[in-house]
Symmetry: C2
Subunit: 211 residues, 2 copies
DNA sequence: CTACTTTGCGTACAAAGTACGTAAATAAAA
DNA sequence: TTTTATTTACGTACTTTGTACGCAAAGTAG
């Protein structure tokens, strides 16, 4: 049977990142409760569906985005977090390039739009809390896990990664020390290829190591 | 209404620790599925019950243990993790002194017993996976969070904490360096009291800082 | 008082992290 | 072709953190 589990939901905190601007992807709800309000793209899990799959499916259905590397962050289960009935929600998150995706409001979403994280007001349910939790999770894990995987191409020069770290953590990191660190921590591995068509000296390409 | 949510469960991984021996608390199930098999003490969440409360209640109902500091570790949600129907489970864990508690098999538990972690065979469901996850979570967090809170009295001398770290991580840690580390990392704070009745020089008492 | 034990501070060395100099490799300008 | 500008990539010195270990202080037992 492929019914929906009424007490288990998924929420996705998808952060869009470009030009040092951090955005969050919200949808305009097409049903009660909180009809017409902007909120995190989420929904219910099917009876026969694994959590990771549900997260991916919901994101695609609501926003048109697919093929992301999503990470599970935490569970939110307070009795009063959802007004209509008891629902516990598992939070997933990802960091992407907003310009890379064409947003398509699907079923149960009237609109989809990127919002600046800074300017976010009170969202429905515990979604503000979720955004905070996801963000601090990301900042914690950026040196340990391939959190930037959706922001980088398959192969990239280290400077591209360096720029991303600096922008996301909004701090300057010494280029030479940055290289030493990501290499010694085995976050990346060097390929036998170099950039071509660059303006100056070609750079070695690297690849994120998934651990 | 105080019904049970049929698709959300809690499991508790309670580790007992004494004399360098690591044990895990299991109950003998009194119902299907997996009737009569030893498994983690867990069960279903009430409609009006927060997750943390449910964890505490279930532990008390099944084993008689109460008043523990339990930490949420992760969610387990594979579609096939429970045979009868779809159930996702939130895992909590704690580290306690086994001799401190009198075990009382309550409702839905035929027996309660400590088992050596080393000798654990295949358990029902994904409980082996849960134990592994909880253990590595504990070893990760021991330097950051007051994971030993249930093993230590309210006030304790640093050497007691030192012994616990050594035993739990099974490695020797230099006493003098250990002190420096836990103090500089603000895991503990010194009180204006000293041990009395000790065999040698009195030691300052410390308290774990919850963060 | 002496011998012994535990506490707790201090110091020297090692490893990891940070600041920064500079040569190598290329494109563009002269 | 030579020079200049730019980016890559390696190396070195310093600073902070972590580890090994010495030893005096404060108590108990005899």
């Amino acid at each position: 049977m492929n019914e929906i589990l009424p007490n288990i939901s998924i929420d996705n905190a998808i952060f869009g990142f470009a030009n040092g601007e951090l955005k969050i992807l919200l949808i305009k709800r097409d049903k009660q409760p909180e009809l017409d309000r902007w909120s995190l793209p989420g929904g219910y899990v099917y009876y026969n569906e694994n959590m990771d799959d549900a997260s991916r499916r919901l994101l695609h259905e609501l926003t048109g985005i697919s093929n992301l590397f999503l990470s599970r962050v935490d569970v939110f289960g307070d009795t009063d977090r959802y007004p209509d009935r008891r629902v516990i929600s598992v939070l997933y998150c990802a960091l992407v390039k907003p310009e890379q995706f064409e947003l398509l409001a699907g079923a149960h979403a009237k609109k989809v739009k990127w919002f600046e994280v800074k300017g976010i007001k009170k969202l429905p349910f515990d979604h503000n809390n979720m955004i905070d939790t996801a963000l601090s999770w990301l900042r914690d894990e950026i040196w340990r896990k391939p959190v930037l995987i959706n922001l980088l191409p398959e192969k990239f020069p280290l400077n591209q990664m360096h720029d991303l770290f600096q922008a996301f953590l909004h701090e300057t990191i010494d280029n030479r020390n940055f290289r030493k660190k990501v290499i010694s921590q085995e976050l990346v591995e060097r390929l036998n290829e170099k950039t071509t068509g660059g303006k100056q000296r070609p750079a070695y390409l690297y690849r994120l190591k998934r651990k």
